[in-house]
Symmetry: C2
Subunit: 473 residues, 2 copies
């Protein structure tokens, strides 16, 4: 009646349990029916008697069978007699799972061998992982288990203190560890902010063009994203000021606008801060590229000029160190912070305190700063190489400003070229890039494209541009 | 006009930039107004001239001032003249942050020196962190940066494979790495499932009493939780079957019910699977305590008996290893899995691939299994000590079944005792426990309490019970 498969990765007693249960559920074994003795079963199945005993104990513990002293084990008499579940049984119920909104585009894996211009991420190959591993080991050893329990939902206090010191000294944002909330990268920061600040049906203002994933953190929750255009002075604050719809937040990248890399002008910073104060709208300032300003000094964030407490500042260590470490941070007014922590509790409770402590040590030792300075030099060389290659090879179709900062280049494409078609062909030629439309909240076609250069070394850049040229024809 | 504070943690050039910007914003410096020369400013402020130059460059880069060759730098003439923002400026805008729903109770930090019965977590002090640190170092070294980039949203493939092998062999859930999604602990799993399966206004069924955090993952998103009572056979499936409201999911802990530790009977497993198949309702099976079955063999999960693909299985390594590692997993039908991955992309993109690879190695080496067996022995001793202490010291007010598994004890309290008041007094006596009401979806008072024992060593247990006794009077 039963047969066990020794090649299966399911253990033998487990197999027997499942088969008995299925026999009962299919009606083949009726309530009250006696099972063969364990010795008989063991012989039939060609297994050791202990295997059968383990299975019987398991079945009895779950109430499928009743063991009776000195008599045959039988199927529990009180079990309801089920009809055959096989009839009409279907794998997968059509749970009515809703198709998830928001452009999944940014998350498509890059096919093997494809050189990827589509991401603005740094090159993790530059990062000295052993220093991190050492710090991680030290932090776990010294913590005697404390870092392996649940940590504070705001994150490791030492990391918050180290970040606060950095933000104060280098970014002009006076803050302490109490003002900082550590998150799983800037993406979780946006998700928590979306849950804390908005409800389905609310409206926020976003940059057009703008980085899709941050926008999607809101739209995927049913929030409307109102597109405000970006020009060579950054977000068009004058246009924003004319918006009548109540706004729950303004999402922007004022320092190195993503993807255009323009800097929000002083004029507009003034107007924007004033707008936020009057309309009581929080400004969500994303400043993920702070370390990578190549021309002139790094622009101070909007948050450093915020007297009215309207700016929520979001940063990350993904660019200064490595994206895989998933460590971002938020500086927010207390009322919002408290809600963020409550939300965090329901979303994933807390971060990885051991890793956070290790990163704190690396910040305290200046390890992080040293790394990002080194990376900055490398990325500047890569940027300049890319600029040179593009001028030489594609100067007739691409025009661009030298990006003041950031890890991507934004180029205007001559109207003679169909950018979408070029991007599609490029993938077949083994190079991926996002056409401007990927950054347009409305999906509108733009005669532009974005090339992220930081994670491609010089050989790869040369080859990638060669493929771009081939794909163009 | 400006004064710099050398004791401030804000760098001097940054301070000067901020003060100039504020002078402009307050109207003290009008558009077109000339700044003093850098030498003069440097003398006035008693700083090096380079400090002033850095500040001026910064201000010019942001467009606040205009540098003019051979002439005084002046405030940009095109700046709009702002009225004094200080007038009526308030820190904190009353963003209209919504108070976050759901019992935050489970997330209250334990005051120093307080012995905590309120959590069902294991004891991270038992965990050999150096083994983890070693594995982490190895995985980072071998990956050459790959593990520091963005990983697959489903998690490291090797960890998924190792988990799938365990689930197949030990839990009777035949699956491969493709069926598994790694999450940040079981809490993120519930959050992702809530987003994927429900919308505000939907209804799910939950156990009463039941674990609050999993329930809250849904209710905090505006989902209604319908309380179905739990008796000595587990969730009352007969009552569930009478529910007319369309249900989007049933949340349950069939194997070691949290908090009562009862096991769902075979009779009800049959009825429940049949109910789910007919009503097309996914069963979210939480099986976080699998490793800690103390009496008899570990009950096979509902998922091992699921022929119709109605069970979504959620487990975690938080209990087998340590909560701080935040590593849970979901086994779900493909249609749901695809949505979970899309949701994950918007929530926090991906996990920590380096840590996941390290855990994969520890599973492959049998390190995890060895640890959880060791922990199981220790926790069994602690359970038995607690039972003995309670029988001796509180036998007159507490009655309980010996829990077959799980890391908490559920006890009925005699009606002569006000449990809530006892819990409040206990905190003052330096011991915390949750009264039954903490687990009631309706907040109803129950004559019961839960004592999590696994993370308290024997000395701590003795002292904790002594404090319980003192607090009782």
């Amino acid at each position: 009646m039963f047969t066990l498969d020794r090649r299966s990765h399911v253990a033998l007693p487990q197999q027997l349990v499942q088969q008995v249960v299925l026999a009962i559920r299919s009606g083949a074994l009726k309530p009250g029916a006696a099972l063969a003795g364990t010795r008989t079963l063991a012989d039939e199945l060609g297994v050791h008697r202990n295997t059968v005993n383990a299975a019987i104990d398991e079945l009895a513990a779950q109430g499928w069978v009743e063991k009776r002293h000195g008599r045959a084990t039988r199927v529990t008499t009180t079990l309801p007699i089920p009809h055959d579940v096989e009839a009409g049984a279907t794998r997968g119920l059509g749970f009515g799972v809703r198709p998830w909104p928001g452009s999944s585009r940014a998350f498509e894996a890059v096919p093997k061998g494809v050189l990827d211009f589509s991401s603005g991420l740094p090159d993790p190959r530059l990062f000295d992982a052993t220093a991190l591993a050492r710090a991680y080991r030290r932090s776990l050893r010294h913590s005697k288990g404390r870092l392996l329990g649940f940590g504070h939902p705001a994150g490791d206090e030492r990391l918050r203190r180290a970040l606060a010191a950095q933000l104060s000294a280098r970014r002009g944002i006076p803050c302490t560890e109490d003002d900082v909330v550590i998150t799983r990268g800037s993406q979780l920061a946006m998700h928590l902010l979306a849950l804390a600040l908005t409800r389905p049906g609310d409206t926020i203002a976003v940059e057009s063009p703008g980085y899709p994933s941050y926008r999607d953190a809101f739209t995927c929750l049913g929030v409307r994203a109102l597109a405000i255009s970006v020009d060579d002075e950054g977000l068009d604050v004058e246009k924003l000021a004319t918006v009548k719809t109540p706004l729950r937040a303004v999402l922007l990248t004022p320092n190195t606008q993503d993807p255009t890399t323009v800097t929000l002008s002083a004029r507009r910073r003034l107007a924007l801060l004033e707008f936020a104060r009057r309309r009581r709208v929080p400004l969500l300032e994303l400043d993920t590229d702070f370390e990578f300003t190549f021309e002139g000094p790094a622009g101070l964030p909007l948050a450093s000029q915020d007297r009215a407490g309207v700016v929520v500042y979001v940063g990350t260590l993904s660019k200064a160190l490595a994206p895989g470490l998933r460590t971002g941070f938020v500086v927010a007014p207390k009322e919002l912070r408290d809600t963020l922590l409550a939300v965090r509790g329901q979303v994933d409770r807390t971060g990885d305190a051991g890793l956070e402590r290790a990163l704190a040590e690396m910040l305290e030792d200046g390890e992080v700063q040293r790394h990002s300075l080194k990376a900055r030099r490398v990325f500047l060389e890569r940027r300049d190489l890319l600029l040179e290659l593009l001028r030489r090879e594609l100067g007739d179709v691409l025009s661009f400003e030298v990006p003041r900062g950031g890890l991507g280049l934004w180029a205007t494409v001559s109207r003679s070229v169909d950018v979408e078609a070029w991007a599609a062909r490029a993938l077949n030629h083994g190079v991926r890039f996002f056409p401007g439309s990927a950054f347009s909240p409305t999906g509108r076609k733009l005669h532009a494209l974005r090339l992220g250069f930081a994670h491609l070394n010089e050989t790869e850049l040369v080859e990638a541009v060669r493929r771009l040229v081939r794909a163009r024809a």
